[in-house]
C-alpha cells in the first residue's frame, strides 16, 4: 500500500517537473535570472535600487499590452495596431483632460475609444473573415493618423484641473511602495492568468487557436469570442497608454511607434505560439522582462544601443526554434 502511495507521489512530482521544464516561460525566466545575476557581478550599477526600479517600470508598458496580445495570439490571430492604439488612447485622454474635463471623463473616453477600435477590428476579422494581419495593419495607420488629427500633431503636456492626479496615477507608488505601473501590470497579469485558466472564455480562446473548425462544430461562439479578444487587446493598449501618459507627463504623436513589434517579440519569447493554441500571462510578463533586461544590460555594459534589435531578434528565433524542436520531439 505504501509503495502505491509512493509511486503516485513520485509520478505527481515527475509530472510537475515535466510540466515545468517543458514550459518555455520557465526557461526564459531562468535566462532573466541568469542575465540579472551576471549583470549584478559584471557591473556596479545593475543591482542598484534605482536601476531595478527603472527596469521594472520600463517593461510594464510592453508587458500590459503583451497580456492582451497573448490572448490574441492564442486564438491564432495577431494585432499589429497596439502601438498606434496606445498613442490614440493617450492622445484622447490628454486632449479631453486638456479641454478641462476631469480624469474620470478622460479615462472613460480613452478606454471607450480602445473598445470601439477593438470591436471594429474584431468584427472585420470574425464576421467578414478578413485576415487579422490585414485589418490590424490598416488600423495601425488609421489610429496614428487619428491621434495626429485630434491633437493637430502637437505635444500635449497640460492635463487641466486633474493634471496632478494623472501624474500620480502613472508615477506614484500606492501599493507597498511598488511603482504604480508595476502594480497595475501584476494585477492585470493575475486577472489574465485567471481568465485563461479558470473560465469558459479562456477555454474557448485556446480551443479557437487549437482548431477553430472544431470549436465551431462543438457550439463554441467563435465569432463573439474573437471580437471580445480584439477588444481586450485594444483595451490593454488603452490601459498602457493611460499609465504611460501619467508616467511621462506628456503625449506626442510618435508615442508607441514600433511598440507592436516589441510586444509581439515579448509574447513569442514568453512561449506564445504564433500558430495559435499556446501562451500564458506569466510568459507575456517574463518575455517583456527579458527584452528590458537585454536593453538595460547593453547600456550598462557599454555596448552600442544599435545592437538591441539584433539581440532581441536572436532571442525570438532561438525561442521559436526551441519550441519547434520540442514539438518535433513530441511528434516522434
Amino acid at each position: 500500500m505504501a509503495s502505491v502511495v509512493e509511486d503516485q507521489v513520485k509520478r505527481k512530482q515527475a509530472d510537475w517537473v515535466g510540466w515545468l521544464t517543458a514550459s518555455q516561460a520557465f526557461w526564459v525566466f531562468i535566462a532573466v535570472c541568469a542575465a540579472s545575476a551576471f549583470l549584478s557581478f559584471a557591473t556596479d550599477s545593475f543591482a542598484t535600487s534605482n536601476n531595478l526600479f527603472n527596469v521594472t517600470r520600463n517593461f510594464t508598458f510592453v508587458a500590459v499590452i503583451a497580456l492582451g496580445m497573448t490572448i490574441v495570439i492564442i486564438t491564432g490571430g495577431i494585432d499589429l495596431s497596439v502601438g498606434s492604439v496606445l498613442c490614440l488612447c493617450s492622445m484622447v485622454l490628454a486632449v479631453v483632460m486638456h479641454a478641462g474635463y476631469g480624469i474620470e471623463v478622460g479615462i472613460a473616453a480613452s478606454l471607450g475609444c480602445a473598445l470601439i477600435i477593438g470591436a471594429f477590428n474584431g468584427v472585420l476579422i470574425a464576421y467578414l473573415g478578413i485576415p487579422s494581419f490585414v485589418v490590424t495593419l490598416g488600423m495601425l495607420s488609421i489610429a496614428r493618423s487619428l491621434a495626429m488629427v485630434v491633437s493637430n500633431n502637437t505635444v500635449v503636456f497640460q492635463f487641466g484641473p486633474d493634471h496632478d492626479k494623472l501624474l500620480l496615477l502613472g508615477g506614484g507608488a500606492w501599493l507597498f511602495g511598488i511603482a504604480n505601473p508595476v502594480a497595475y501590470m501584476l494585477i492585470l497579469a493575475l486577472i489574465t492568468g485567471f481568465v485563461l485558466r479558470w473560465t469558459r472564455f479562456g477555454r474557448y480562446v485556446f480551443a479557437i487557436g487549437g482548431n477553430e473548425q472544431a470549436a465551431i462544430l462543438t457550439g463554441v461562439p467563435v465569432r463573439r469570442i474573437k471580437v471580445a479578444v480584439y477588444m481586450i487587446s485594444a483595451l490593454s493598449a488603452g490601459i498602457a497608454g493611460i499609465i504611460q501618459t501619467g508616467w511621462l507627463g506628456a503625449v506626442t504623436t510618435n508615442l508607441g511607434a514600433g511598440m507592436e513589434l516589441q510586444v509581439i517579440a515579448a509574447t513569442v519569447i514568453g512561449g506564445a505560439n504564433l500558430a495559435g493554441g499556446f501562451g500564458t500571462a506569466f510568459g507575456a510578463l517574463i518575455g517583456s522582462a527579458l527584452i528590458e533586461v537585454i536593453r538595460n544590460s547593453l547600456g550598462l555594459l557599454g555596448i552600442n544601443a544599435f545592437w538591441q534589435g539584433a539581440f532581441i531578434g536572436t532571442f525570438i528565433i532561438v525561442a521559436v526554434t526551441f519550441d519547434r524542436i520540442r514539438a518535433l520531439r513530441q511528434a516522434d
Partner: protein, 247 residues
C-alpha cells in the same frame, strides 16, 4: 416504435437535387450502415438529421412526434449526436477538455463561476472506462493514437442521453488494431440501446457491425435491407449502379 423516421426527404441546392424522396427508419439498438459513392447524398442526409440543413421537402418524426430543427444545437437537445469525420478535436487541449468543449462543467467559488477541472476529469475518466478505452482524461490529444481520438470524440456524445448517434467515417485513416477498438465501441453503444448511423466506405466494417444497410446513389435510396440478407458483391453493385435497386 422507430426512434427516428425520415419520410420522403428531399434536399435541393438550386438546380442540384442532392436527395430525392429518401425514407429511412432508425430503431433503438440498431446499427444502420449508410453507404454510397462520393456525391451519393450520404453527407447531406446526415446533415439533415444533425440539424445542419433543413430538408426542402419531407418530414422527420422522432418517437412519433414531428421534428423540425433550425440549428445543430436543437438536434443535440433532441438526443441526436454526431461524430464528425475529422473528429473536431483540439490538439492543444486535454482529452477531458475536448469531451466537454462547449459544455464545460463549472463550480461556484465565491462570486465567480470557474471551470470544474476535477469534476470534468472524473466524469471523462468514467466515460472512457464505460467505453472500455485506455484513453486518459488528462492527456493532451496531440499525444493520442487514432483509436483514442475516436474514443474522445465518441465520449462527447455520452455527456447527454443520446438516442441517435451519427458516425461519419469513424474508421477512415486509423490502423487495423484501432479499427477493431472503434467497432467494439460501436457494438457497446448499440447494446446500450442507441440507434447508430454508420457512414463508411469500408465494406468490411459495415458488414461487421451493422444490422441493416442503406445504399444511396445520386440522391436516391436504392437499397434498405438486413445485412445478413446482403453481400459485399450486392452492395458494390448497388453503389456502382451495376444493380439497379433492391428495396
Amino acid at each position: 416504435m422507430a426512434v427516428l423516421e425520415l419520410q420522403n426527404i428531399s434536399k435541393h441546392f438550386g438546380a442540384i437535387h442532392a436527395l430525392s424522396d429518401v425514407s429511412v427508419c432508425l430503431e433503438r439498438g440498431q446499427v444502420v450502415g449508410l453507404m454510397g459513392d462520393n456525391g451519393a447524398g450520404k453527407s447531406t442526409l446526415v446533415k439533415i438529421i444533425a440539424g445542419n440543413f433543413r430538408p426542402t421537402r419531407g418530414t422527420m418524426r422522432m418517437e412519433g412526434a414531428e421534428l423540425v430543427m433550425h440549428r445543430p444545437i436543437e438536434a443535440r437537445q433532441h438526443g441526436i449526436e454526431i461524430v464528425h469525420q475529422d473528429l473536431a478535436l483540439c490538439d492543444n487541449l486535454t482529452a477531458a477538455a475536448n469531451v466537454f468543449l462547449g459544455r464545460e462543467m463549472q463550480k461556484r467559488v465565491g462570486p465567480f463561476k470557474v471551470l470544474d477541472y476535477s469534476g470534468m476529469y472524473r466524469r471523462a475518466s468514467q466515460i472512457f472506462a464505460e467505453l472500455k478505452s485506455d484513453t486518459r482524461a488528462r492527456e493532451p490529444i496531440k499525444q493520442m493514437s487514432g483509436g483514442q481520438r475516436q474514443a474522445v470524440a465518441i465520449a462527447r456524445t455520452r455527456l447527454s442521453d443520446a438516442k441517435i448517434l451519427l458516425l461519419d467515417e469513424p474508421t477512415a485513416a486509423i490502423s487495423l488494431r484501432q479499427v477493431a477498438e472503434v467497432l467494439n465501441l460501436i457494438r457497446l453503444l448499440r447494446d446500450q440501446g442507441i440507434a447508430i448511423v454508420l457512414i463508411s466506405h469500408r465494406m468490411q466494417d459495415v458488414f461487421s457491425v451493422a444490422d441493416r444497410v442503406v445504399v444511396l446513389r445520386r440522391g436516391r435510396k436504392v437499397a434498405d435491407k438486413s445485412i445478413s440478407a446482403s453481400s459485399f458483391e450486392e452492395v458494390t453493385g448497388l453503389i456502382t449502379g451495376a444493380i439497379e435497386h433492391v428495396l
